[in-house]
Subunit: 450 residues, 2 copies
């Protein structure tokens, strides 16, 4: 039902734009989110897109632009006159404005910024100065601030005057030095007596971050303490802005998408949606090159055993199963470890021993189990105990190694300040494959005398 | 800073519990979220855990229990008397209460439910009846409801009386038939004149879901429309409850973690944190068995070419690089496709052709590039054009096939109503590996006449 509702809204926008039905189109846009309109644009021709943008009111056009795909955004900013773009920008929240400006080509960015009012330009430029993935980069400087000696009645009055502040959940309470000293909610203004001072019932223990804080940490904090907004303060504990829950949602979704790209061995900068075939190749080639180099090394390792292979060609047949199982076990252990690190279940030495001990035992169980299975199959398929024995023993050893390595590598990366998620990608599979192949042929020649 | 703050709170709880410092401990707990307390418990001994729980107030103990790891929860529910557990349950929000009850062993669940008041038990049992991952399974039946003819003044009065309703963001407006007809916010109550009726300014176009809606869809809706709560209605459009933003955050994080588990080939039910080695093996064995079977098939395929291999043992050396590159390319294409499906960039036939065309071209580029690289290396390493030619040509073909298959499989799964994310796991790697090996040996024997 919900999905259909979204689809119906997007479809209505497309249909009405194609029909050039201005009035119903404007009505339909009112019901839609900027994401709906942007999704409709993705399916419109260029003249239709311009028709639609001409019908958008100035206060929604900017948000729609922010939601557009890269290619649509380029087209729209190239066609719409600078004066209108400026109007659209000015109607946006400063944090969204900064996000949009950051996506524009440099020339256009400069021209647009120079047209903004000095105060607004300063706001945007200050926001642009913070790293994109920091609290400063995603915060909005607009927050509802009140002095600690304000009464409930006064605060409500002030609120009624400042009604343009969007998404107000909390009132940030400041002292004479403009330092953030407390926080309270609209709800508390209503349930306390009108003459009460805010400092009497505000929560004085404010959870705040600095603008340099990583956006992922901000998101985790908001989730952990069920906050609708996280205040950002400077060294003097003055309020710089707030990160609101809608941005927190975006961060969590973005970071999850990034983790998946890392696991798939696609570079960070990749855009899964709008990129061209060449951009796609560029974002994927790095890990493929690593795989290629590792593959060449494995080929050389196997070539060391050319004599063995020439006499026992069927040994080559087990290469895929040795690689497949080890790679898989390594990735499983790495992913579990990365999850434990990401959620704080394992950190800074704590819980490490338990985790390694568990993964080690799991590796031994899997090594025994799959080793015995493959030994049985090898023995049935190639009479005599040698083939089955060699395959079983090497799989057993390789899986134990894969489980332990898979768990250790993310811990080591984390200790050295490298994002441990890298370990869930081709890195671990490739390393584990290499070791598994070496183990397999060593066991074949030395233990079983092929 | 933010992370240190969390760590400091958790550490304080541990230290104060160890010191048996009741008063400061109670104060520290007040500043902490239930997640903080649960994290502290994970590092406490059993007597310390009981000491801490004895100092928790009845209205936070239930939430802390909900945040506990499985093993800690089992211990606590086994030690705390039934009367106290009942008190703790009764103080929880009904949706959290249902979540906690669902995690208890059946015997204890029955005994606890039978002690609750009839109305509360009914609430919990109704919530438990919905699937865990549906809107019904995560909604809270507590919402702020008002009739459409209510005035702002009356609504504020009603709100001041019902102050125990937690996390109020929206007022849900009902008509004479108790149907949900509109929604408005606390903010609107304050900025409209006290005598205005809600129906005059409420948003009549309410985005609602049914209790059967998948929790992931609810989360996507909340993110898309920046909603702090999504109302859940029955067929008659009567309000059953709301899904609040804190639950939406949990859903997004949970689904992201699940996606990672799927990519790593770990079963859905896996608990990355508390599970034992045997449980770990059980959750990982399914895909390993698939890999094993595929590996056995590949061994048989390779054995078909035993004659070729016996005479040209160095051909075996290229098996890892053929498998490694193809598997990697397949996973990259599959992950990009799954992201496009998950975000709605590709859906129900739309955008499919563009995506396949892009992946096909990317596959051709990667096939050509890596084919030529390997051909060059093969020719240098093994004089004559045959080895290089065979390896280059087969890698080229295999990578094109891997890219196309990687993109096609998630689309096919999606069409048949299967979660396409499955394609980002060992399924695609294994299938692509198998095809790549078959291509490699076929090219070696038929085209290059080894």
């Amino acid at each position: 039902m919900a999905e259909n509702l979204v689809q119906a809204r997007v479809d209505a926008l497309r249909r009405l734009t194609r029909r050039r039905a201005t009035k119903p189109l404007k009505k339909a846009v009112d019901k839609c989110s900027s994401a709906d309109v942007a999704e409709a644009v993705a399916h419109l021709t260029r003249p239709e897109t311009l028709f639609l943008f001409d019908r958008l009111s100035d206060d929604v056009a900017g948000d729609v632009m922010l939601a557009l795909r890269e290619s649509d955004l380029q087209f729209v900013t190239g066609e719409i006159p600078l004066e209108r773009l400026t109007l659209w920008l000015e109607a946006m929240e400063p944090d969204d404005e900064a996000d949009l400006v950051a996506r524009l080509p440099e020339g256009l960015r400069e021209r647009l910024l120079s047209r903004l009012e000095a105060a607004e330009r300063e706001d945007v430029e200050e926001l642009l100065a913070w790293p994109e993935d920091s609290a400063g980069g995603i915060m909005s400087p607009v927050a509802f601030r009140v002095h600690e000696n304000t009464t409930c009645r006064e605060a409500i009055d002030a609120f009624q005057e400042q009604a343009d502040v969007e998404m107000v959940f909390y009132l940030y309470v400041e002292n004479d030095q403009d330092q953030l000293v407390g926080v309270t909610s609209l709800r508390n203004l209503l349930i306390n007596a009108p003459s009460t001072h805010l400092r009497e019932f505000m929560a004085a223990d404010v959870m705040a971050v600095t603008p340099e804080t990583d956006q992922e940490q901000v998101a985790r904090l908001a989730a952990r303490y069920d906050l609708l907004a996280v205040p950002v303060v400077d060294e003097a504990h003055k309020l710089l802005g707030i990160v609101t829950i809608d941005d927190v949602l975006d961060v969590i979704a973005e970071e999850a998408a990034e983790d998946m790209m890392v696991m798939a061995g696609v570079s960070e900068g990749a855009d899964p949606y709008g990129e061209s075939a060449i951009e796609a190749v560029r974002s994927r080639a790095r890990w493929l090159l690593v795989t290629l180099v590792a593959g060449v090394v494995m080929a050389e390792v196997i070539n060391l055993f050319e004599g063995t292979l020439a006499q026992n060609a069927m040994l080559a047949g087990f290469i895929p199963v040795v690689m497949g199982l080890s790679g898989n076990v390594g990735i499983q252990a790495a992913t579990i470890t990365v999850r434990n690190l990401a959620t704080g279940h394992v950190s800074a030495g704590e819980g490490v021993a338990e985790l390694l001990w568990k993964e080690g035992r799991a590796g031994i169980l899997m090594g025994l189990g799959f080793g015995l299975l493959l030994m049985a199959w090898g023995t049935l398929r190639f009479p005599g105990w040698q083939v089955g024995g060699a395959v079983g023993a090497s799989i057993g050893l390789a899986l134990i190694g894969a489980a332990v390595l898979g768990a250790v590598i993310p811990l080591v990366l984390d200790r050295f300040g490298i994002d441990p998620a890298v370990a869930t990608g081709p890195f671990v599979t490739t390393l584990v494959d290499l070791i598994a192949i070496a183990v397999y042929f060593t066991v074949c020649t030395t233990l079983f005398g092929f």
